[in-house]
């Protein structure tokens, strides 16, 4: 890892460089403590195992249940990471320092989204094989499309989730409020992702799941842009 640059020479702020610096800071904290990652992955694996025990394989084929299980777990384990995203800043009033720096609000938000995206993807790289293993899924030939679905859904989840984490951190209820606000917003992510995954796992041509992929893509485009636009409003001036 390269040493942090400590030069005092002034450089014009660059949006993506700033965002990346924020993301790196958050990921570094997470990498050193591993608290949320551990919680999220253990939760994900536990949830898969519990789902497996409530399921009667003679009544419902694995193929019909697994996509739903996968995406429900994906959503809830994502929430565990999102809660931490701004809680981290509020402790010791670190957020005030971040806002006082010359980094733009949009870059702070983008950085947080990148950090949460990496977090969610890391959890997913463990949860996905766990689901495939316990439900005996033939992921083999279609892994490329599943990765694409995961990327699209994770981006939408991170953008919307990060924005609501910022809102929730300003309220009395904090983490209690986050699922209540975000879950309706995850509907156009979880349903299309689960449907598209089901199409792929059944070995049907991807054209049949194309409508679902388009919904995911449209959701990402609209909400990533909208969340960046409205994020400055969540900050006390």
């Amino acid at each position: 890892m390269s040493a942090p640059r400590l030069s005092t020479t002034h450089r014009p702020p660059s949006y993506l460089a700033d965002a990346w610096r924020i993301a790196r800071k958050d990921l570094l904290i997470e990498f050193r403590t591993r608290s949320a990652f551990l919680a999220a992955t253990v939760f994900a694996v536990l949830a898969v195992v519990i789902f497996r025990f409530t399921w009667d394989p003679t009544a419902i084929p694995a193929m019909d249940l697994a996509p739903g299980v996968l995406w429900v777990i994906f959503t809830f384990s994502g929430l565990l990471g999102l809660n931490r995203s701004f809680g981290l800043e509020l402790a010791e009033r670190a957020y005030d320092g971040l806002l006082a720096s010359q980094v733009s609000r949009e870059a702070i938000f983008t950085g947080k989204v990148i950090a949460n995206l990496v977090f969610v993807l890391c959890v997913q790289t463990l949860a996905l094989p766990a689901v495939a293993l316990f439900f005996d899924l033939p992921v083999g030939p279609s892994w490329g499309i599943i990765v694409a679905i995961v990327l699209l859904a994770s981006l939408g989840l991170s953008a919307v989730g990060t924005l609501f984490a910022a809102i929730a951190s300003n309220t009395r209820l904090a983490e209690l409020l986050l699922p209540m606000m975000t879950l309706p917003f995850f509907v156009p992510l979880v349903i299309p992702a689960a449907q598209a995954t089901a199409v792929v796992l059944r070995g049907q041509p991807i054209a049949e799941g194309m409508a679902w992929l388009k919904v995911l893509l449209a959701f990402d485009l609209v909400f990533v842009f909208a969340c960046i636009m409205v994020f400055p409003f969540t900050i006390e001036e």
Binding site: L163, P184, V215
Partner: protein, 238 residues
């Protein structure tokens, strides 16, 4: 900020709380009259039977709850982010709460009708599912409001959620519509579809007008209540 400075002089002219609201009384009478007409003076549908009478409550409540109330909520949220007028925030709050009641009516009367017509209380169908998600979204919005003490912060954060919710609704509708539906197609504003007989259309028009009156009466009452509450909060803070 302009909204803060304008709050002080306006608090002198805060509307006094009244025990009797004439507008609401008229609206209640109109709703009772419209229901009476629908029940006793409108022919029973030959195909759907007496259960079709629910239509005169269900559809006006749906149109008002889903389009009027949510539309007002979304528009006033977006406008608040733009011009930061606290009255817009109170309008958003009032329409969310009154809209929740109307959507609640839709979600209760719907299954009652579905039980007698489809033989099942609940169906995961596009319109029904969208309404349920919208109802839950508004509940989340109101819980967010209850979680913030400061008037200004509450207005700002809930306006952000209201704005995003406006973008979300088409996505929810699109998503659940990709599942096939069995809800009856709209028969009110669809010129090429089979039409209702004129007596039924008249009853429907009257109940629509009555429920619209009720909606605005409740909205006005709720808005006044919010104004009083905010004025009291501002006085206590001063």
């Amino acid at each position: 900020m302009s909204s803060v400075s304008s709050a002080a002089p306006r608090s002198a002219t805060v509307p006094e709380p009244k025990g009797f609201d004439a507008f609401l009384a008229i609206a209640m009478v109109a709703v009772i009259a419209a229901c009476a007409r629908a029940l006793f003076f409108t022919p029973i549908d030959a195909m759907l039977g007496a259960a079709q009478k629910i239509f005169y409550v269900h559809v006006p409540a749906a149109i008002i709850g889903l389009y009027f109330a949510c539309g007002l909520l979304f528009i006033s949220s977006i406008m608040y982010l733009w011009i930061k007028d606290e009255r817009l925030d109170r309008l958003a709050e009032s329409s969310a709460e009154v809209g929740l009641v109307f959507m609640g009516i839709v979600l209760v009367t719907g299954p009652v009708w579905a039980r007698s017509s489809w033989g099942t209380w609940w169906v995961w169908e596009a319109r029904i599912t969208s309404t349920l998600f919208l109802w839950l979204l508004v509940v989340g919005y109101l819980v967010l409001r209850s979680g913030v003490e400061s008037i200004e912060v509450r207005a700002r954060l809930s306006a952000v959620m209201g704005t995003l919710a406006a973008l979300l609704v088409p996505f929810i509708h699109l998503t659940v519509k990709l599942f096939r539906g069995m809800h009856p197609e709209p028969v009110v504003l669809a010129p090429e579809k089979p039409k209702m007989p004129p007596e039924m259309l008249m009853s429907f028009g009257l109940s629509m007008a009555a429920f619209l009156l009720l909606f605005f009466a409740l909205l006005r009452l709720r808005f006044r209540w919010a104004t009083l509450r905010d004025a009291r909060t501002a006085m206590e803070a001063a």
